[in-house]
């Protein structure tokens, strides 16, 4: 079996702060990380590899040259091969153009049996690229998967697809795509030998042209959506802050206030 895991390097948005004076993002000291949901996708691929000997896992990313870091991290954890799609031609791509570019990269790897994505990336939060890539590839996609088993004959995947208040047991023929939720697993940490192997790895970037992509479908020009304005969310100012009250006093005051506002 050949599994392709699509990864994205993202700024750690939990560290991003807004400078209240200039109302701009403070990115200083914000590290670049592997998108947390993609870690779960990678872990699912690695667990499938362990369960099905002979399986090969390829980690794929699209991004600037430094995105090679997350591919090295993936190798440290056990990925066999990597593909770094790095091309100015894809700059400004929205989800339509991005999913096209990634679908070409996936296709250039042959015909993988399974393409796994994280549920969404924490910088864009669109959750569109996984299903989009699947559509370009013409394969099914099951989104929000927390469990995946592949039949012994390697022809079908049985997955648990979670929704807001239930889960479905779904059977999908391979090849197919999955997007993975956090509760699927606990991502492993890289091993020492894996890290050593990753350190020696020289990752050569691949261009979109080399993956057979049609330049007319890439980048800003091929992107229907445009960001026309970026602004900071209006800051909500806090209301009353009670400090130095005894716990019982604060509690009584709160309950009185809630009753007063007819909230309880």
């Amino acid at each position: 079996m050949h599994i392709v895991v699509c990864l994205k390097q993202v700024p750690n948005t939990t560290q991003v702060k807004i400078n209240p004076e200039t109302n701009t993002l403070v990115r200083d000291g914000v590290e670049s990380i592997m998108n947390p949901f993609d870690e779960n996708a990678l872990e699912m691929a690695l667990q499938l590899k362990e369960a099905h000997p002979g399986t090969r896992v390829t980690a794929l990313t699209m991004g600037p040259p430094q995105a090679a870091d997350i591919l090295k991290e993936a190798v440290g954890r056990g990925a066999d091969d990597v593909l770094l799609l790095c091309d100015r031609a894809v700059a400004g791509s929205d989800t339509l153009a991005t999913s096209y570019a990634i679908s070409c990269a996936v296709r250039s790897l042959g015909a993988p049996d399974l393409v796994i994505f994280g549920k969404q990336a924490i910088d864009g939060d669109t959750a569109q690229v996984g299903p989009g890539v699947a559509d370009w590839l013409g394969i099914p996609c099951v989104a929000c998967v927390r469990k995946c088993e592949i039949a012994a004959d390697g022809k079908t995947a049985t997955v648990e697809r979670v929704s807001e208040d239930a889960y479905d047991v779904v059977e999908a023929p391979l090849p197919c795509a999955l997007t993975v939720v956090k509760e699927a697993n606990v991502p492993r940490m890289a091993s020492l030998r894996g890290k050593m192997a990753a350190r020696k790895l020289a990752i050569e970037p691949t261009t979109a042209a080399a993956t057979g992509a049609d330049p007319a479908l890439l980048g800003l020009a091929a992107s229907p959506t445009h960001v026309v304005r970026i602004f900071s969310p209006p800051a909500k100012t806090g209301g009353a802050k009670w400090e130095g009250l005894e716990p019982a006093e604060a509690a009584q005051k709160l309950v009185a206030e809630l009753k007063n506002r007819k909230l309880v």
Partner: protein, 391 residues
């Protein structure tokens, strides 16, 4: 954070960052629960095995990553201890349990046992102490009688770290009771051997995540090929093991004290009294300054000792004893002071320093009490100055 240049290798630095992340993400969230309920951290150890971190002291030929530099292992223990020594002692006890095989074992024994230990699939334990043989290890009563191609073991071992959890035990037993310490031999005993069972698990003051248990041998037959070295060499393996393992106890102490300092300084910067953070009080900041200084002194002594051992020096018992003694006394002091810095909060289980202080005490006791360490150092001084007195 500024740090002294200890000339750590790339491997040591890599392992430090891996262990640091592991301790923060895996151990810290569960340490209070492991402590409270006395849960052995088997999942954590298995995960460390998958990360190739259970064989840092085992040579590459036997599946580990040891390349002649012991500092990566020492630093791994230190980083794990910074978050929880209940977990770190369970980790380090594998090294202690493997050391007799590494030091005195045959090629066959090494090939048979060490690779699985390096992968974290099997755990090891070191079984010397008995109810009546603590510091006086020469007075052990467990016996091993040769019968054909087997030895028959009888007796009880006490307070064995990783007891019940480990798969491979290095057990010290008397093969010739007329020869005292020279009549002690060391055997590899596998869990599941008929006649080998476990007694009660101890309910301890600290390091509660670790398993401390009795081993009971009742006509337990062990193949003769499981004898390490020749008959009567056990005491040599026991003492040589301690010489190389005591810096590991020091590493636990340094890590633990560093963890307590981390908590104390962070708290002192945030806690406001009389309108300013408490760290602004000179009395308190001097306390922190001394804590930090002593930790660094212990680290320098320990790393230097490890380097000396690695260099092939013959005589290092004194330094091993010094770093174990100094670092563990320091850790007791630093963790006690960390509780003091946090005041009433420090005494509560909501904050980790209470556990750290309970955990610290064992470091002054196990692998030779600190009184024994002083004896060793005193004895060494007496010997070293024998010539000087004549001169």
């Amino acid at each position: 954070m500024a740090e002294l240049n200890y000339g750590l290798s790339e491997l040591a630095l890599e392992i430090r960052s891996m262990m640091r992340e592991f301790a923060q993400t895996r151990v810290k969230p569960v340490r209070a629960e492991l402590d409270e309920k006395g849960i052995f951290p088997i999942d954590l150890l298995r995960e460390l095995g998958k990360m190739d971190l259970m064989g840092l002291y085992i040579p590459e030929a036997y599946g580990g990553t040891f390349d002649g530099d012991s500092l990566p292992n020492i630093i791994a223990v230190e980083e794990l201890s910074r978050v929880c020594i209940g977990v770190s002692v369970s980790f380090a006890a594998n090294g202690l349990g493997s050391d007799p095989i590494l030091i005195g074992g045959s090629e066959e024994q090494k090939k048979k046992y060490l690779p699985a230990i390096a992968r974290g699939e099997k755990l090891a334990a070191y079984a010397l102490t008995e109810p009546n043989a603590g510091s006086d290890a020469g007075s052990i009563r467990t016996t091993a009688v040769k019968k054909g191609d087997k030895y028959v073991l009888n007796g009880t071992k006490q307070w064995i770290t990783n007891g019940g959890e480990a798969d491979v035990y290095c057990v010290f037993a008397v093969t010739d009771k007329n020869r005292g310490a020279r009549g002690v031999s060391c055997f590899i005993v596998e869990k599941g051997t008929p006649g080998f069972s476990f007694g009660k698990k101890e309910n301890k003051m600290g390091i509660r995540a670790s398993a401390t248990r009795e081993l009971i041998f009742e006509d337990c037959e062990v193949p003769a090929e499981n004898l390490i070295g020749r008959e009567g060499t056990g005491f040599i393996w026991a003492m040589k093991t301690f010489d190389v393992s005591r810096p590991g106890i020091a590493a636990q102490a340094i890590g633990l004290a560093q963890g307590a300092l981390d908590e104390a300084v962070s708290y002192a910067k945030v806690r406001q009294q009389f309108g300013r953070p408490v760290i602004a009080n000179q009395g308190l900041s001097w306390m922190l300054a001394e804590m930090a200084t002593k930790i660094e002194a212990a680290r320098a002594l320990t790393y230097a000792t490890v380097r000396t051992i690695d260099s092939g020096a013959k005589d290092y018992s004194k330094f091993s004893a010094m770093c174990k003694m100094y670092a563990s006394d320091m850790a007791m002091e630093v963790t006690t002071n960390a509780v003091q810095v946090l005041g009433g909060y420090g005494y509560m289980k909501e904050y980790p320093v209470e556990k750290m202080m309970r955990d610290a005490k064992i470091l002054q006791i196990y692998e030779g009490t600190n009184q024994i360490q002083r004896d060793i150092i005193g004895l060494a001084l007496n010997k070293e100055y024998a010539g000087a007195a004549k001169a």
